[in-house]
Subunit: 465 residues, 2 copies
């Protein structure tokens, strides 16, 4: 896949991985396993504990990754002690608010696999550079040391990979080396190197299914009612999620008739012309718009510049802006939906492939760590398109931290309104398969954790920025 | 159920139905079957054809009703000829644009059961009173006569029941009596007499599931991100759909913490106080708001009075209004989703009970008609709550036409923000069970009909209003 062509100095690791099976890519020992084992506590204990934290926006399957981490760790009790989880992500580590996951039953942990949201709480909290906020890193290592945490699993996007990388460096400096493994998670699908990101496939499936369903609704009403339907989806910088809407139809006659990507500058005249063409030809027009769609000058379409009765800038997303255009310039009846959090929490329609990959990266992260592989991230490697096959590879965190993978231009049709065949080939396997949660009385039965706090050993209040 | 207590002069029929099993409620012969059989065409044919039309907003399961009608008719080829469907509902009859459903395979017809939207097209087109627009009724009867249509199945809400009722009267007057059976359909759940309306259960399930899922997302991010999440759902007059969101949680601590019903005048101060209480106590607040939520003076909350750069009234629903309030008065970070058509087309998460009932009313409508029962509508009758049991009853169209069933006040808690136990008892069975469509390459495989036009016999252009 073209999106795998990102160059990195450690080509041997990254490039070799597609051809390797599970377990064969772990030769890059960044932090020798022997060293880990030699770190003995005063009581003579050899085993160290683990720490798992969720970071950034949660997804329908981030808990499947948690499930993979915890189940893998439980199977290796010979090598790893407890796994603590950060209550509200990294904040839990900074404030010494650790959840003792050993208090949860095997059944509850297994149920995480089908539970959306972040079971331990996540956080939008980015650690600054070491020089800017040394106290936070020192505190982190202090807490890790106090709880004998030798393994740090950080489950998030680009920023989190950067943090995990920094922690791996700083632990050594501070005399308490920690094996750090970043675990990819982002609905935005914008992490480099990995073929795709856990979390994306399920949002993609939700958006594709919803677009197909809503299109059937609109098509059947178009004669006398709504002619234009707009679905607003996530993706502030990259159009991957909007692109997934394109899977709903097979050709230009099928919805969605127009996709508005952040990558393509919005051209009002061409857009309106295409809407009109669709309505003339098919009687209706379905539009999937990325929240990040923008004008040529970089302004978001969502910045409509409207004010409410109090003079405050009017809330309202890009869907409302596009709908206003359609109404005012074409006089067509519209409806719009804003999927917002529904799209990234819709575990009920998660992609089976995504669930499996999310679980696999969690499991693999533990295996990497227990082999002493430090400052790495498991990646998803596509080994074959037809039939779709994948395996787990590995990349140094330094190569993924703070990098964004945009949609290649060749994934978008020349007119800028649709996805190409190559894009379809890339996306389609990622939404495959259903993985339904169990239901009780008509509602999904999601895991409810006890989230028992581990007794603090340091005490004191660490004040967050 | 309290909502079944609507009085009607033909009590014997309506009241008796809860206790009767399938097929036992059909003793009210409004239009003698003998008369139907005696109407012979010049060629000596006895059988008459049927006409089926979808009306108003479509649902995830209106095609399951179509499936019930068509499969039942195909089984009674001894008594009924072809079933034509109106392309775009009743407009297809007026313009003599009839779809010959006999051209579809049994497999395609069966697939309608799991296909959302309106397979033949629906229409927002209400026939006026006979005196106001006699030409339309005459045309309808003229088309029916030309195509030997003796059975009219009209699948819609209150307005459509009124139309079906009028057609039953007018056919007689014009010397071409037609057996008219209305078939209930509305996501709004506002038809009287019937315990619930086909279409509602699936929207209810979608809203309940989505609320539960989004709540898990918000709960896990609340510490550092969104504190208030708002989900806007349908229901302009009655709060049934918003109420269904209440099924997502079990007590006051669980989301949704606030439901805004059209039935309860919006009290800004009390609302903001409750939001603040929730955020203080649970760290987050989930709100389900009905699009019909309104102020004490009757104005919709959605009428925000905002203008865009061109001075046009700003589009934007009630969710945006509520979010603006939360931001400006409480300074809390919010997100909102607008489910719009997604909620009523989400066949992927349809309620199994709803699918079964939707099919059953279609099937029963044919049975009623073939017994010569005219100007009636099949109803869903709840015969037991625990375990939930239902059967199909019957009501004269005159008793359901143009009537709305509102939420009883006792279904809403005293504070006006939640549903009561009795509401939960009523709603919960309606969302039970899953009825997943088949999938292909990650997407639901929905029926694609050929929709072959029946050759017109009248010709000429009938001009719609």
């Amino acid at each position: 896949m073209s999106i795998l062509q990102e160059r990195c100095p450690h080509e041997a690791i990254v490039k070799a991985s597609p051809a390797l099976a599970h377990g064969q890519t772990e030769s890059s020992v960044w932090y020798p396993a022997s060293l880990v084992k030699q770190r003995r506590l005063p009581g003579g204990t050899v085993k160290q504990n683990g720490f798992y934290a969720q970071s950034g926006g949660v997804t329908a399957v981030i808990n499947a990754t948690a499930c993979g981490v915890l189940e893998a760790a439980r199977k290796r009790k010979d090598k790893i002690g407890k796994v603590f989880a950060g209550r509200n992500g990294i904040i839990g580590a900074l404030t010494e608010d650790l959840i003792d996951t050993s208090k949860e039953s095997a059944r509850t942990i297994a149920a995480l696999r089908h539970t959306p949201g972040g079971a331990f709480g996540s956080a939008r909290y980015k650690l600054k550079g070491f020089d800017e906020n040394r106290a936070e890193y020192e505190r982190l290592i202090e807490v890790f040391r106090a709880h004998n945490i030798g393994y740090f699993f950080y489950n998030g996007g680009g920023d989190s990979m950067d943090t995990a990388h920094k922690v791996s460096q700083i632990g050594k400096k501070l005399g308490f080396p920690v094996t750090c493994v970043g675990i990819p998670k982002t609905v935005d699908n914008d992490l480099p190197v990995t073929d795709n990101c856990p979390g994306f496939g399920s949002v993609a499936k939700y958006v594709a299914v919803s677009t197909r369903e809503a299109a059937l609704d609109v098509a059947s009403m178009a004669r006398t009612s709504t002619k234009v339907f707009i679905l607003e989806v996530m993706g502030r910088h990259a159009g991957w999620i909007a692109a997934a809407g394109g899977l709903a139809g097979q050709d230009r006659s099928e919805a969605p008739h127009i996709i508005l990507f952040p990558e393509i500058a919005f051209d009002e005249a061409r857009f309106l012309l295409r809407v009109k063409e669709c309505v003339d030809k098919y009687e209706y027009c379905v539009i999937v718009v990325s929240e990040g769609a923008r004008h040529a000058d970089g302004r978001f379409l969502a910045e409509a510049g409207t004010r409410d009765a109090f003079g405050h800038a009017q809330l309202g997303g890009v869907a409302s802006t596009v709908a206003t255009l359609v109404r005012d310039r074409l006089g067509l009846k519209y409806h719009y939906a804003i999927a917002d959090y529904l799209q990234r929490s819709a575990r009920h329609i998660a992609s089976k492939v995504d669930v499996e990959q999310s679980y696999a990266v969690g499991k693999k992260a533990v295996e990497f760590a227990l082999k002493g592989q430090n400052a790495v991230m498991p990646t998803i490697v596509r080994t074959s398109n037809t039939p779709y096959r994948w395996t787990i590879g590995q990349v140094p965190l330094s190569h993924v931290a703070n990098k964004e993978k945009m949609m290649p231009r060749k994934f978008i049709t020349r007119d800028g309104f649709s996805i190409t065949k190559s894009c379809r080939r890339y996306l389609e396997p990622l939404i495959r398969g259903e993985d339904y949660p169990p239901y009780h009385k008509g509602l999904p039965r999601y895991a409810k954790l006890r989230n028992v706090a581990a007794p603090p050993r340091l005490g004191g209040n660490f004040v967050l920025r």
